[in-house]
Amino acid sequence: MKEQESKDKRSRSLSVLQDLRTVLGQLDAEHPAALRQYMGRQYTGRTLYAQREGDFLKRLDLEIASRRGKARILVTGQIGVGKSSELLYYFRTKRMQGGNDFWIFCDLDREEHPERCGATGVFLAIFRDCWSSISRYYPVDQQYDLPGIRNEVFDRLVDWLKGERDESKVVFQFGGMSFPVFLNDKDGALSLVLGKAAQHEAVSQPSERFGLAPDSLINLLNKVLDWVTRERRNVAPVLFVDHTDKIRDPLAAEEVLVKVAPQWGRIRASIVVTAPFENTLGDLRYSVESKWGRPLILYPVEIPNLNSGPIPSIYGQIVKDAQLRPLIRDDSVRLLAHYSGGILRTFVRFLLDACKETHLNRHDQIEPSDANTVIHSAEQAYQDYSTEGLDLLDQIEQKGTGLGKAASLLRSPIGLLITEPQSGEQRLKVHPLARAALQRYHLKQDKG
């Protein structure tokens, strides 16, 4: 094994463009991590899913299983911590296991703009993805009563969205542009209308939205979900609604998470929804918890000590899956893992940047100097620290104060970390990349 590794080490080098390309092709910091194989398809070009320690998935599973058909679970956590990767891994694993459960993954990010998407936009996106999952799994025209439900949903949407119908098509006006939908493929037509309406509701100004009542949408959605429930021996579907945490506009987030809570309650399925960290732990915390219960938090991976001690195995697994094992020194892994703050997107981004830096420096493997260059650039690159923010970070570091006003810092990808609770209490930490900014702040204060 060691012999093979040292042979690999001799024969591969990041200074060789082809070797660099091979590694870059295995790392992706933007998409959720992929399973090596899913539904007969081999995934390449994506960072592979690596199992983390902790009980996040167990808790999720317990919640879904114990509240069959009625679970309402909010999932939250730091930007880039791995929420989508964990949910997608769970969803795909469950789907592959089969059984009576019908799993649906709804993605607010798909052809969308979640930033200030309101409740109607979210429900339309859910409807779009439910319909697309169901119609893909059950060929609609071969089912006894599904075509009737489809036609009813389509007709209602045409009315609500003020479509102009002739024999072959319906023309909708979205943002002042005509959008014709042809009726020869009714399943496709419904998917198109739902997709376009969801997108319009998310992107357009509130004054240009259709003002569809979420209530009416839920009634229609329930018809489709009830059909699935009957098909699955009375087991209601499980919906994962991802990227709702990207609704950063506070008013839109409040509408989706608090104001339409009764509508969420009426959806006849179990629901797992991601939610913005700064809202679930910040100003909206108590309103959100009163409607949804305590959110399930995905914490950053354990941060290894900068100089010694074990490095959590997940970092090594990511390195190995990217075929980087012989091309990075252990002390470089430690450096990158430490400064990633346990945020896996940052760690993968660091690996990508360190590979390129190593190539440009004509090194064979990622040396600590390459890793330090990347870390230094990241420290310099992030500038979103207000005086108030640094003051809050300082209080947390010096006096160990609680979250309080500092919840606003959770909006930033690099600032404050909330780590796995010990003795039941969450711990607050300054992100290792933010320490340099904090030190500069201290120096400035000392001079002042």
Partner: protein, 198 residues
């Protein structure tokens, strides 16, 4: 210290993701772009000035939707000819534009990627208003004012003393003035790589 050629290398080798080019003086920005375009070669590029929310809602949205319509599992062949985007963010609009770009971080990062050109003084506001996009960008941030006037012989052969007219038009809308072509010619000659350099 880095070079525009390093930025081009990163863009071409990673083939996706979002990078940022910071600038303060248009003089530096023009030089950085001249080297960048020469190093990128014949990769198709689409340029756009992002100046108002209205522009995001109409023009930019159409551009974005083109990339959104590509299936998630598009092959390299499907993506062939898809342009790389260079978006110039107008000064002092990050508060309004940031949230738009934040919501589109996924299509912006899809292959072949995007370069956002942002004025240094606005970058703090940009990061604050586009936190998710900032996490995609990571340390992919290059500063035109710190770039060395260094390039390879290969790039030297492709250097042009003027930028494409689409960029020139955009630069006219940005603060400052561009250097004239004579000045750029002299700069190219003065910094030509020596015989020993690759």
């Amino acid at each position: 210290m880095t070079t525009s050629e390093n930025l081009a290398f990163s863009i071409m080798e990673e083939k996706r993701g979002v990078s940022v080019l910071l600038w303060n003086d248009q003089d530096d920005l023009v030089r950085a772009l001249i080297v960048l375009l020469a190093a990128i070669g014949d990769m198709p590029i689409e340029f756009s000035l992002v100046a108002t929310e209205k522009h995001c809602e109409t023009t930019l949205r159409k551009t974005i939707e083109k990339r959104q319509r590509l299936p998630a599992d598009s092959t390299t062949k499907d993506l062939c000819g898809t342009p790389f985007w260079i978006f110039f963010i107008q000064q002092a609009v990050s508060r309004h534009i940031g949230p738009w770009l934040n919501g589109w971080r996924r299509p912006l990062s899809e292959s072949p990627g995007t370069l956002l050109v942002v004025r240094q003084a606005d970058f703090n506001a940009f990061q604050h208003n586009a936190p998710d996009l900032a996490s995609y960008i990571g340390s992919q941030i290059y500063d035109a004012s710190n770039m060395l006037s260094v390039w390879s012989k290969e790039v030297h052969g492709h250097l042009s003393s003027s930028l494409p007219s689409a960029i020139t038009m955009i630069l006219k809308e940005l603060p400052g003035t561009s250097p004239d072509t004579n000045e750029i010619d002299r700069w190219i000659v003065a910094n030509a790589p020596g015989d020993g350099e690759q």
